[in-house]
Amino acid sequence: MLSQNDIQQIANLARIKFTEEEGKKFSKDLSSILDFISQLKEVEGEVSDERLRERGVFNVLREDVDDNKELEGMVSNLVDMAPEKQNGYVKVKKII
């Protein structure tokens, strides 16, 4: 069972806030989901970490060249959608 403390820690990491009422329900729901998921424990040692790395998953890269004619004007369109902007930049609150 996930404690209120556990839930609060996760919520902080995930930038999620909720009321006390909601917190109780989330705690109950998440615990029941984790219970269900715990059946994965039954699958023991059948795939080694090496085997997992051999899966054939690879990165797909391209040349770092700006040849995107069709994207002309797109940057300003996208920046325009931000609630706050200035000089073609998205404006945010102080981070540090």
Partner: protein
Amino acid sequence: MDFSNLTIKKAHEGLVSKQFSAVDLTKHFLDVIKKKDKDIHAFLEVTEELALNQAKESDKKINNGEDIGILEGIPCAIKDNILVKGVKCTAGSRILDNYIAPYDATVVKKLQESGAIVIGKTNLDEFAMGSSTETSAFGVTKNPVDLKRVPGGSGGGSAASVSASECFYALGSETAGSVRQPASFCGGVGLKPTYGLVSRHGLIAMGSSLDVIGVNSKTVEDAELVFNVIKGKDRFDATSVENNKQQTTNNKQQIKVGVPKEYFIDGMEGGVERCVRKVINDLNSRGVEVKEVSLPYTKYALSSYYVLMPAEVSANMARYDGMRYGETVSSDSLLNTYLDTRKKYLGDEVRRRIMLGSYVLSEGHYDDYYRKAQKVRWLIREDFRKVFDEVDLIIAPTTPTTAFKFGEKTKNPVQMYLSDIFTAPANLAGIPAMSVPCGLSDGLPAGIQIMGQWMGEDRIFELGKIIEQIVNSK
């Protein structure tokens, strides 16, 4: 003229022979939507002006005697997590209630280039998280077959719009069955392509290693026609690939089908099992070889999915922070802006999955959950790889039950998640799958699904058409 029984091919013939115009066709479907959609609520947005303008363009081509493609002038709907430029795109969430798409998804671009008429955006569970369309921030969609029941989810709007004859076909998306399960519940066809064959550029991401764009339609042939237009490698989607598999339909070899014993479980609806087994029994007489097979890790698919998907969700949802687009709650600090915006505008299921994902990725839990789930995913994929050495295709029920009533599964999240028990494996493995209607169970549609080898859609369509013949002949 009764347009509701037309297939894409028949409608195309009608347009080419000038029996009716694209504008006639479009106006008809806009009328149907006006009449029916206040009860069904499949649509979040009807793009009347866009549709009529596109229809006029199609008519110009036809009247000029130009050759037109098969999808030209044919009205379709788009799930509201796929971007259509200039049209609101909400993903069923209040956080995007003010978001107008700044570009077209690649699939939408391809459809428009082929002359398709986009008639509207369909309803979905919020950010595609759900199996009933009940978590949409803008109200539920009702199953046209029985208005007291859910149409399935997350793409309930897409499946319902086709079932109610409000359009010919609709694009949807799947992460664990969100095209197939609603198709099964609403009595239509639902296609999930091989991961990578259809570009995800312009699809609002949920679980990036699982998401695919699919098709809801009335017939297998219709789904095939649309798939052939929307597929293709796209430079804007690094996970997209070209189909380099040899087509096998010219090969007159008998289709070999496997029936996995793990897909017939206790607690599944008797009527659904009966419908599916009836079809399987008839296949032999149609020249299809059927044998029992086993996919031993099937029972772990859903738990693996409910670790991997929330993990990816927790990353993909980070962008909804009130900074770049969408709604925002202006606050005193950066952190509070994040917290307040997300609290106000994101629904419960979304927040649940974000937290679950953060948990399984966090220190001390990563190995037990995320790494373990990755291994199980690999084992599930291997199950399929081995079985495809013996057979070409696998058939099974799409869902354990027919459409349930509203509110029936909302009290306990795990209850709702179990609706995806038969559909999730295909998403984990990346293989293509298609749900085809296979009869009624207590008056409600049941679906049978065909799962194929990676890039093996052609065989799926072949068997799908055979199953349609079997079911329609009863």
